[in-house]
Amino acid sequence: MQTHDCGGAPRPTAWRLFLFFSRIGLTSFGGGLSGWLFREFVQERAWMSEEEFLNGLSLSQALPGVNVKNMAIWIGCRLAGARGAAAGFMGIIVPPAIFIVMLAAVFAAFNKYPLTNMALAGAAAAAIGLSASMAITAARRVPRRVLPMMFLAATFVAVAVLHWPLLWVVLAEGALSVAIEYRRLGCAKG
């Protein structure tokens, strides 16, 4: 039970998790929230292994619901059970929700200065770095076999180039890919 494939770092309490998710939710200007979570929980604090995080990320994207919220619940549950899951859910949503309502009021006043827009565009550009470095890790962790590589390429082309709806891409390719892996695992065992 206590031996997940995770480093020996002491586990955070639910309250500490809430504060962590709140901080990330309130500072992640420019987007790239999953990248922030990866940075904080895997690279900085080693509370989860890369493997564990990426498993959660794959499931969060394939299951219905906002990804970031799914990921916060996954991480919270992993680190502190049901209370941790609740802490992740509340922390990633409630403080940023309050903040965005206040921001909407303030933003109306600052909108007329072009420098505000430039600052936010620059933040968005830099935030791509977070997502990109996580994307590189995720791609490097895909098994070097023909079929997984084909699925990776097909997903990228379908979503980025052809702009197919994510829902159908995930349902169709996901079902096929999981079925193939299920068979492969069965063959390996038998």
Binding site: K69, A124, I136, S177
Partner: protein, 179 residues
């Protein structure tokens, strides 16, 4: 008032169930419901709200919170937020719980292995789409590339990198280097 809250719930709760892969995919449908079907906001108001949600920290789907706020005040914001985030929360919790209880079963390993390349493809696609949509010309592209290198190779605080990105683009604008 009660009927507005109910409408907010009826619009956003079903959307939360078809949100797969990323909240951005549902924005077109949210626009249709909010502007065309219910006429809660004008198209211009919607665009402004969308811009704020994209620039604010936190999940992009908080767009829905702002819509709820505009339509039904405090309780509108609460109902809309719960509608988009809560219905699917128990699903991922159930899966996370099962995963924790039964490590290494075949029905776990297959989705882990099978979904890995799809997830990687989606994340790469998201990065590509964001990169192509950057405002600020090749300065912004250079910032994105530099930030990627910094984040991959170093332990710098991401917030520092993001603040530097904002500062560099502001400086470029101020110096008149952006055409």
């Amino acid at each position: 008032m009660g009927s507005v809250l109910w409408s907010l719930w009826a619009v956003f709760a079903p959307l939360s169930l078809v949100t797969i892969g990323g909240g951005q995919a549902t924005v077109a449908e949210i626009h249709r419901q909010v502007v065309d079907v219910h006429q809660w906001m004008t198209a211009q108001d919607f665009l402004n709200t969308f811009a704020i949600a994209r620039l604010a920290p936190g999940p992009g789907s908080l767009l829905v919170t702002l819509i709820g706020w505009n339509v039904g005040g405090f309780w509108g914001a609460v109902v809309a937020t719960l509608a988009i985030f809560a219905p699917t929360a128990f699903l991922i919790y159930g899966v996370a719980y099962l995963w924790r209880r039964h490590r290494g079963a075949r029905w776990q390993l297959a989705p882990e292995a099978g979904l890995r390349p799809i997830a990687a493809g989606m994340i790469l696609a998201a990065v590509y789409v964001l990169f192509m949509a950057l405002e600020g010309g090749w300065w912004a592209c250079a910032i994105a590339v530099a930030a990627t290198l910094l984040m991959s190779r170093s332990r710098l605080n991401p917030l520092l990198v993001i603040v530097c990105g904002a500062a560099v683009l502001c400086a470029a604008q101020w110096a008149g280097w952006l055409s």
